[in-house]
Symmetry: C2
Subunit: 342 residues, 2 copies
């Protein structure tokens, strides 16, 4: 019973799932159902996720899509991240409206982008659109590729001083000449909605402490598991990759939820069997037929994994939308803290 979370591995290397091991993870067949037989999206609260514990059952659509029939007997439950994210965004939207009606304020998110990487531009555009959907005010500082450290810190400190900004994020990666660590150190932990400040990370790691923010992608992964009825406590979880922004916080968060966590990385010799796959990879693949000239795929060989895992998230439509929903949730949390709005 291994719950494997596949995170960005080496660039270009797609992770292959060994066949022959199938887990006992709860599948669509034993999803909790209400009296009508309709599936209930269970929503235990995430650490510091300040939104209600009880959620309405999904009206017409389950967060588990039905297994697609195939000659190769696909049995993995496909977790629909986009559906879960939409549910969360709807709830965040109503919280934002309640805040606006109650105190005349809305949460504000500021994004700093350096340069014009097409993947970064896409991510930022998606974040802005999601903010608009739920009523969060958003603003972007677009800096040139060759901007100086001082220009970047200047943008940071002006957002830091702006009381209408409750969350600031620096879109990563930064160009080589800028030291990410030093830039992130300057960001106040109180506005660090990405949760990448070492103080937030330390508080995530330590028992009995609460970070002000949990990094959005790991938070989205755990939220998907919880809402899909996967019990994390006592399960073995293998995290592939140990980056500061995904692998590390995911392992810390799984451990907070009492999983027995193993972290696999470039030095690991024999990665173990898989029964559950959350694919956090996003690799741009050239595709002239698609709107932007490329499309995104995950790190996992989906066609193989879907036949041996007990549940899986697709790319796109899995972790991506959840990450954005968690960013909105973190920004809302931040504004609530500032205004002492409950």
């Amino acid at each position: 019973m291994i719950l494997r979370v596949a995170l960005p591995w080496r660039n270009g290397l797609r992770f292959r799932v060994p066949s022959g091991s199938r887990g006992c993870c709860r599948s669509a067949h034993n999803t909790l159902r209400n009296d009508d037989g309709r599936p209930i999206v269970i929503s235990p609260p995430l650490v510091s996720l300040d939104i209600p514990d009880d959620w309405a059952p999904c009206p017409a659509h389950s967060c588990f899509s039905s297994p697609i029939s195939s000659s190769n007997e696909q049995t993995a439950t496909v977790i629909d991240g986009k559906f879960i994210a939409d549910e969360i965004k709807t709830r965040i939207g109503s919280e934002v409206r309640r805040m606006k009606e109650g105190i005349g304020m809305v949460p504000g998110l500021a994004v700093i982008v350096v340069g014009y990487r097409r993947d970064s531009q896409t991510y930022v555009r998606n974040k802005m659109m999601a903010c608009a959907e739920v009523g969060i005010k958003s603003m972007v500082a677009q800096l040139p590729e060759d901007c100086t450290k001082d220009q970047l810190l200047g943008a940071l400190s002006s957002f830091d001083a702006d009381p209408s900004v409750h969350g600031i994020l620096v879109q990563l990666p930064l160009p080589q000449h800028l030291d990410e660590g030093k830039v992130l150190d300057v960001l106040r932990p109180e506005k660090d909605v990405d949760g990448f400040h070492p103080l937030n990370m330390g508080n995530l790691a330590m028992r009995g402490r609460e970070p002000l923010f949990i990094p959005c992608t790991p938070k989205g992964c755990i939220e998907m598991l919880l809402r899909s009825g996967v019990e994390i406590a006592g399960r073995k979880a293998t995290v592939i990759g140990r980056s500061n922004i995904v692998g590390l916080p995911t392992s810390l968060l799984l451990q907070r939820h009492h999983a027995t966590v193993s972290i696999v990385h470039a030095f690991t010799k024999n990665p173990e069997l898989i029964t559950f796959v959350i694919d956090v990879g996003t690799n741009p693949v050239e595709d002239p037929s698609s709107e932007h000239g490329y499309r995104l795929t995950g790190d996992v060989c989906y066609e193989e994994a879907v036949r041996v895992a007990s549940a899986i998230t697709p790319v796109p439509g899995g972790v991506g939308p959840m990450t954005i929903a968690m960013l909105l949730s973190n920004t809302l949390d931040s504004a609530k803290r500032v205004y002492a709005f409950t």
Copy 2:
């Protein structure tokens, strides 16, 4: 090839080692030897351990003691923590003298103790004696069991303001009425020689970052492994227990050294096989025949483990002396940073 680090488990539960698995960890037989055939204590530097990389070979004594002959065929190499710690203390002593001669300053360590737990009193006494041995100035603030939070914070801030104090540690555990987390938050990371501040922990967890201090017990464990010629990179390491002061930082530190780390805790179902044991447990056992009325034992069933592990540390004489040596090393590092003394 599992390298298992046994950390404090549940109180009173001694960890039993399943037989039948023996690792391929480097034993006394293949310790590096110099031209005379004498073993060389290898000393790669620990992260932030600011003492020289090359160490003199052990003159007459190896840090590996010879296997004791036994009818039950003990094959585990016993790692002599006390010997390694003495080596390190000798080096720290000469560094302190060099500092005193060079700039007329010595490192200073302040310890705050609340109440009169006999184990805490023993630990503090040992730390003070070790400071005296190497020439580090030490001072203790002994507060009554029922002291208020403000009294404790007062002691902390007076040491914080004292420029001759380069390291402050609050002896844990504190009495129930005092919130450890809140007390440790007040300690400035620059004097946090125990490395328990969340900012130091976050920087320990994150790649590309350096904590100002690494917690002493984990640092001592890794140092023992490195000096015993155990290669950590690529090995599987299982950390039993996930406390903030031992289990968590040990797993983070092993991961920094590129081990594939699994963390086993109360929710874990089937802990795996063992080949290497570092016993970090210290359990006081009533013993009227001993000087203080009790003696210390580890968490591991030593008599069993010594027959199946490839290497093992005893209690006492394993991790304990290393912890103190690392505290001295952290205090020395702190003073060097303050005085920009290299």
